[in-house]
Point group: D2
Chain length 334, copies 4
């Protein structure tokens, strides 16, 4: 089978190489997935750059966590999946429900990566696709979709129809948050530094938008409009002070925040509004199933900014890293 | 001012009489509301029949809990409301937030009733209308709307987009539940004994319907389709066994159930699915505000089956009590 | 190894026979447990009588779900347990966390039973004992202890110090509920038909007790004292009406209720107090771990009414079924 | 009546003056409280220094939020309180239940202060004392006690028996947290810079203690011991990074944090443990009632470090501001 690989100590996605590897076989409790589509996340750029959690790759590795395809084989003891089932991968393949189980994360260089024609995964690590989605659309959900869902709906306080959500920027998590929150009957505010991207967000359903270049105090802007019940904070420490300022009473700052390793907001802003900040790290397969039910019932379609052929994977990385990226960047088998 | 009144020991709505009364004045902490529209609930029929909680009226009384109109005067110390504000009444005017405060309930014969041109209420007992609603539409919400909202969204476990709700019959609570749950991204199943009413429910967005006459085991019917996460159980003890059978894991039977005073379901059905049953008794003004936000953001319109002029109030009661009632029956000043 | 077995279609525990069987071996993902102590639950009497869920045993079977002992061997791929670890069994060995996984339940005739010197279980199906407990004490927890914990602490609304709990009778679940709730800073009320047992409960920490023979309206009795926040309802449909009457605002009736298959309470009692009823069916290994932490931190000791030698297992059943049973009946290897 | 007053623009508690004022009278919905004891909070030192939220006093003012005494008169319409009732004050006298109502806060210079022989408060702003407490003990609870209770028990995720709590320092909030958490069956870890104070905390029930001078990485210290489920973070931005490091999966950092206005922790620490940070600002009277129930049921006694006579109020301030302060500093009428 063909697989894209990064070399040990890779420093960028330009070092991706397409190789021919032996097709893996599923052991007991495992499944073989024939992949048809993949999607990129910001984290994949960091893995390729050798800057993801704890540094560079220690060995050659197949990258990527997010893919969708068909079951092509099942190991002993797998009862609930069969050949031909359409499935998507799960970022943390052993986290099925309840408290986080995060010691295995696909595509980080230690666990299996999915940017290949086939991958073997534990049967717990795949989830049936929402029937109405294409492989490319389903491939957008394992990391960004589940993160958005977790941020919106898996916290201890419910997000209700009529409540308000603020998304930062126009990447995969933010466009999926927009689509899911609108399906749930919420108002959505969005920020960007580009007016053209804000216009796209409005076309996709955003109720109000703000350019954070021209309105650097966008936290106060949101608060003047009555505040928001949820901020899906993908910016990190650098934007959290503004996000906190935007919160209403009992609001939640869902913190994903991979961008800024240093410094942070003074949490005093949480006191006056009895607000909370919650750390979000993707989610469980139970969350993925709940997301997929919401996708199916509401006809949610992930926003795919651009799609690339499997053989052009490095171009997909380049696009995702560039200024024109919007929503999800996907790769398809073609 | 004109007001409809029931005599002490009334036994039916045919005893309603239109009278001329002195217009009331707001004291400290109170507001005067000039009513423009009203709606009927099943409970109002019971009050008129002398069969509501603890029996007949002990004195002549203005009936009804649900109305909408304009603030026509404010008493001392009322800061957040002013003349001209469009408001709806609150079933429990002293229950603002937190734990239930149910000792005063509008229109029960002891507390003020609203079927009059004016009513004085505590300032805590009115809620700003959703701006996009007419008076008639807003008058549908105080009892049936808040009940539906409480049942769906104020329980301890969140109802999420993609989850499934079952409503029983096609009255005010059930049609409002349908509208709110669809706005929240849920699937809705509905029951009725009349196929024509089921067709109306499908037109209003219901995903699946069942005739409980021809399918008396509708609990099993729902379970075969995968079960539901919520039943808004307005039938009471007589239908709860079927409702319980319909529940999925962690589902909730929201029990409103005024219809059957005797007997009840064996709760063993709750054990296998770790399900809960929760008693619903309308709700607080905080809930009404959250409902109104959801109404406004999602363009929810209460289903008004028929509307009557103020002078024809007894006809409205007769319609609400009859077999052709669907959704809410309202009265308008005209 | 020696094991007690019930024959197919057993109708009573007098048909228990001690047999010599081959010692089982752990496969991949499994552990071998050398049992040292066991405890009986009401359900075990029903299994022996051929009356448990769906009727009699279809084949000879080793009964019992609850035991404690040492790991005597581990299969391939088991990393977190090793020989010599002191563990207790888990009623539902595949329910680790999150939503219930109840298709396998130890000792029901289809899944393994533990009334033997050794048992092989999935590694997910054992939990480390609280270090301060004896094997006999730890053997009291898998069913009755986890049930009590789930009823008290795993519902959607928190039980807080200073709140009040009502337990029915003086069996395993009720005595464990008493001990756990007192450790959590709650007041506990208890019922029994025997004054001598009520005296024992007071000695064990119960704050108030009532004889339900002489005070059949014990629901009203509790309500006059201010009501309770939780009833751990082991009686079932026959007592639920009284239990419901005892509840305060936002109270919970934790329904375990195996005793009465027919009839049930009218749930209207839940409406006035915004109360809930929740079905309890033992619990997950995550719950067992939380229980064990509470046991260890607070020095909780299960109430063992009487202990029998392994060779006298039928006598233990007879005692558990009789009128003098109090707390847990255990069996020890000796 | 006598009252201690601070002058406009006060810069320190040495400017407190004892004055003779006219005794106030309760209006409609108000009560007159004859105070018997008071307690100091860190916030009172800031008010006296002109450094509390928004700066100095704009007019002469009676300081202090926390007191206990007897009802000495009731205004019109007050039904649930009568002369002689023993009550404590409520920091936010209009926040009764549900979402925060914080626009009126006793003793901040704008709202009434209680360091006087009498004070008039809204009837909603007093709470019956736990019967077993003295006035001095009850006076410890309105700010520090309710804050501790809110931090422990009013968050969205329940704190359970057997869980672990970390308190910082040995002030009023921390000593009350210790007492309440032990009553709730939790383990408590405590920090201080003084070994003598740590010994006192162990005498009061702390399970483990750490000197943060000699162990500046006390977050890692706590994590190595298995981590904690709750940190009651009174230090603020300066200690939050360590507090976050101490958290277990699903743990909560309850942020009270008045000490550090600048800077803050990078919230990435919340991501790996799916943990939350929640802003705590005292609490409602409903919370005070729940606290008092827990106090009464469990015999909780606030830790009073030192007590001063009413005429020596400035000495009480000086002690509270000094290095020997431990637990609560109280003032009694004598």
């Amino acid at each position: 089978m063909r697989a894209w690989m990064l070399p040990a100590n890779a420093t960028g996605f330009d070092q991706l190489r397409l190789r021919e590897l032996e097709q893996p076989r599923p052991g007991p409790g495992e499944v073989l997935v024939r992949l048809r589509a993949w999607s990129l996340n910001y984290r994949d750029l960091m893995v390729a750059a050798g800057k993801y959690m704890g540094g560079g790759l220690q060995a050659d590795a197949i990258p990527l966590s997010d893919g969708a395809g068909e079951i092509a084989g099942v190991g002993a003891g797998v009862a609930d999946l069969k050949e031909g089932d359409r499935v998507q991968t799960s970022f943390f393949p052993h986290w099925t429900d309840g408290a986080p189980v995060t010691h295995v994360a696909l595509g980080d260089g230690r666990a299996p990566g999915v940017l290949a024609e086939y991958v073997v995964l534990p049967a717990t690590g795949v989830v049936p696709m929402a029937p109405s989605l294409s492989f490319a659309e389903a491939a957008c959900l394992p990391c960004a979709g589940v993160t958005a869902w977790n941020a919106l709906y898996e916290g201890p306080r419910a997000l209700l129809p009529g409540m308000r959500v603020l998304v930062l920027g126009t990447g995969g998590v933010s466009t999926l948050t927009l689509a899911i929150a609108k399906a749930g009957g919420c108002e959505v505010f969005a920020t960007s530094s580009q007016d053209a991207k804000l216009a796209k967000m409005r076309n996709w359903g955003a109720d109000r938008t703000v350019n954070y270049r021209t309105t650097p105090e966008w936290g106060a802007w949101a608060k003047e409009l009555g505040g928001v019940d949820k901020v899906v904070e993908v910016g990190g420490a650098g934007t959290a002070e503004q996000s906190m300022a935007a919160l209403r009473t009992h609001g939640e700052l869902a913190f994903i925040g991979v961008l800024e390793p240093e410094g942070g907001p003074n949490p005093r802003g949480l006191m006056m509004s009895a607000a909370t900040m919650r750390g979000i790290f993707v989610g469980s397969t139970a969350m993925a199933r709940r997301l997929n039910a919401a996708v199916e019932v509401n006809g949610i379609r992930p926003m795919i900014g651009r799609s690339f052929a499997f053989t052009q994977a490095p171009d997909a990385y380049a696009h995702a890293a560039g200024p024109d990226s919007f929503g999800k960047t996907v790769i398809e088998l073609g």
